[in-house]
């Protein structure tokens, strides 16, 4: 028989699937800021925050929500090479596929973009922008100057990435949106909403405030860490449910299991 925890653990598999998006106060606020920024005549919007603060899912959701209203494209992972990146970009801008064994003439592309000004407004959502080379970033900057392409640059918040932002986009970035780790209350809502979304009412109810406090202590309100920890917790619960049901309390998650999961993930050490 399949354990109830088998379903629960899968709820917390980390993904940027729009179906897994949980609307929280802070994420709604970030989404609105992003939408307003895109409506303004800005060249670039910088979206930054620590890993696991929901940047990718926000970009994904934005693209999904606005794709029928705006010409919006989401680059989830950086292209392996500059050539591939511009081939992809060429296809979007010209709406034509680049012939095989040919390279994009960047100057021609700039000229083409200049002609598109006031005719089309293309929005490119660039996730993991810290992985792009300096050369690509420089060309992105030049493309944004044509004002026919608007870039939303998503960066991890580190010292190096701040430098990228300063050096390349300082004069062009008009809107900065920072995503932060959520509070204990918001994280609690996040976990419960995730479970309720999959009709796991009993399990959602079994996670009490004390459990959430401990989970928050280990994950600091980071979505990705929270997902990892919840997955591991339910995986351990699943084991006990199948092999030693006496250990499991269905009314709440034992502290022991949360700590075991934290040990497993290295949040705490012996």
């Amino acid at each position: 028989m399949k354990s109830r925890y088998s379903v629960a653990k899968n709820v917390f598999i980390d993904s940027i699937d729009i179906d897994d998006y949980i609307e929280l106060e802070s994420s709604v606020d970030a989404y609105q800021k992003l939408q307003q920024g895109m409506d303004k005549p800005l060249k670039m919007i910088l979206l930054f925050g620590m890993p696991g603060t929901g940047k990718s899912i926000l970009l994904n959701r934005t693209q999904e929500t606005l794709k029928h209203q705006k010409e919006i494209y989401y680059f989830d992972t950086p292209a392996p090479t500059e050539k591939e990146f511009f081939q992809k970009l060429f296809k979007i801008i010209t709406e034509k596929k680049l012939p095989q064994n040919t390279e994009v003439n960047f100057s021609a592309l700039i000229d083409f973009c200049k002609k598109l000004r006031d005719k089309r407004e293309i929005i490119i959502l660039l996730d993991e922008a810290q992985m792009y080379s300096t050369g690509i970033m420089e060309k992105i900057r030049l493309l944004s100057d044509t004002r026919s392409i608007k870039f939303v640059i998503s960066l991890h918040k580190t010292e190096d990435e701040d430098l990228i932002a300063k050096d390349h986009f300082k004069s062009r970035i008009w809107e900065v949106i920072e995503l932060k780790n959520v509070t204990n209350e918001e994280q609690s809502i996040y976990v419960h909403k995730k479970l309720l979304k999959k009709n796991l009412f009993e399990i959602a109810n079994s996670i009490n405030a004390k459990n959430m406090k401990l989970i928050y202590k280990f994950t600091h309100g980071n979505y990705r860490e929270c997902n990892k920890l919840m997955f591991t917790i339910f995986e351990i619960c699943e084991y006990y449910d199948k092999n030693e049901p006496s250990v499991i309390q269905y009314s709440s998650i034992p502290q022991k299991i949360i700590e075991m999961a934290a040990l497993k993930l290295g949040y705490i050490n012996v």
Binding site: I236, Y239, N243, E259, M260, L263, I268, N269, V270
Partner: protein
């Protein structure tokens, strides 16, 4: 699926580590508590021992001083009648002074005297008749008119229960004319030692002074049924006459 057993063992080690500061804190707290309670207890025991020892030493010193003076001075108390006691009070004082002057063993400036309230007269200061079955306690207490001194002796009696103090108070109050208190302290002395004739006679004499002649006579008669006491018989005779 994880290998859950090693994870459980890891968790047990983690829990022990997590609780370690609490164990240390609790252990230290209990240790401090034990040390404090031990120190407090030993202090109180020491204080009790010191207080008891002090009281005992004081009593022994008093008794020792009393005995030394008694034998050195060869000075005895005499029982006497109430009437003679009253009339001979002044002559007794003179006698005391002369005796004290002749006391070559007196070393300090404090004047230690016997209280001759039961003396019949100055000439009758003689050695006690050994055939008479009675016991007398001799006192060496500084004579004083200070009421605080009497209170000190009372306080000392309540601490030590020493018959010497009770008898001293009985005699002193009788001499001062406070017959109620004299009766009370004579009674106290008799409570401690019911064979002490001196305190018994003060008790009877105090009753006489308080106008309880019939009661005094009755008590004396009862006493004489059990004890062949010359002093008691003389006193009874005097009351009848």
């Amino acid at each position: 699926m994880y290998d859950i057993k090693p994870l459980e063992e890891q968790w047990l080690r983690y829990r022990a580590k997590k609780r370690k500061p609490w164990y240390i804190f609790f252990g230290t707290f209990m240790g401090i508590l034990l040390v404090i309670s031990f120190l407090f207890r030993s202090n109180s025991i020491n204080m009790n021992i010191i207080e008891n020892a002090f009281t005992r030493i004081k009593t022994l010193v008093d008794a020792n001083t009393h005995l030394t003076k008694k034998y050195n001075n060869n000075f005895t108390l005499l029982n006497g009648s109430i009437e003679k006691l009253d009339t001979l009070e002044s002559s007794t004082s003179e006698l005391m002074k002369s005796k004290l002057n002749s006391d070559t063993n007196a070393t300090s400036g404090d004047v230690l005297v016997d209280i001759p309230i039961l003396d019949e007269d100055g000439e009758n200061i003689v050695n006690r008749d050994s055939s008479v079955h009675k016991r007398k306690v001799h006192l060496d207490i500084s004579e004083t008119t200070s009421s605080s001194a009497y209170k000190d002796v009372e306080k000392r009696f309540y601490q030590s229960g020493d018959i010497v103090d009770a008898l001293f108070l009985a005699k002193s109050y009788y001499k001062r004319g406070d017959y109620n208190k004299a009766e009370q302290w004579a009674f106290e002395a008799n409570q401690i030692d019911d064979t002490l004739e001196e305190s018994f006679l003060i008790f009877v004499k105090s009753k006489l002074k308080l106008g309880q002649k019939n009661e005094a006579t009755s008590i004396l008669n009862q006493y004489l049924k059990h004890v062949n006491s010359k002093d008691a018989r003389d006193l009874l005779e005097k009351i009848k006459n």
